[in-house]
């Protein structure tokens, strides 16, 4: 039988890389499903700011979530990746999905469109001479 996977040591707080080796964020939480008479099932990884803050203070996590919804009501608050997509754990967590097809970058894109692109020089790539 394979060695059990240690979820706290090898999954929680680790960097998530997608199938193209692009960073999607950290594993801020792990969702388990409690079942009657059967062991809890590991459902998904969660990467979201409220989840991370909720570990420090549930009230602070709720406040961050409300603040995000106030800022951008249409955006999803976090990213959930089904645990079946995890292909490697340890120093990092690798998943077999394309990160661009998840919600991992919605807040980066929102900040770029809402603020960065409206600043002088904000539309270039940042290279010298542009």
């Amino acid at each position: 039988m394979d060695e059990p996977l240690r979820l706290v040591r090898n999954v929680l707080d680790k960097q998530i890389y997608d199938a193209n080796d692009v960073r999607l964020g950290k594993v801020d939480g792990v969702v388990l499903l409690s079942r009657q008479g059967r062991p809890p099932r590991v459902i998904a990884l969660v990467s979201s700011m409220p989840t991370a803050w909720r570990r420090l203070s549930p009230r602070l996590g709720d406040w961050i979530e409300r603040f995000q919804r106030w800022l951008a009501p249409d955006l999803r608050v976090g990213t959930r990746i089904r645990f079946e997509h995890v292909v490697h754990t340890g120093i990092d967590v690798n998943v077999d999905i394309d990160g661009t097809k998840t919600d991992a970058f919605v807040w980066e894109n929102w900040i770029r469109k809402t603020f960065v692109e409206k600043m002088p020089g904000g539309t270039g790539s940042g290279e010298k001479g542009e």
Partner: protein, 103 residues
Amino acid sequence: MAKKANELRLELLVGRRVYDVDHRVVGRLEEFRATREDDEWVISEFDIGRAALLERLAIRHLGWLPGRRPAGYRARWDQIDLSEPDRPRLTVPIEALKTLRRR
């Protein structure tokens, strides 16, 4: 992100005190060990206590643990009741748990 009724959050369970059947503290939940069953991952065991913490932090070789009590326990999934996530408790006497080896 909406949370379903039967969902548990591992990140909120880590570090919770586990109580025995007599409401005494056994130790804190430090590690969740998952195994693959067919196409799903399930929690098979929980590690509780100081030894589990040192192992999780990969500093067990530095860990001198004072006292006579066992430094940690390993509980099967059905030996802990997580129906109250704020207060996990054993479903069996503490003697039924596997003791984690001291260094």
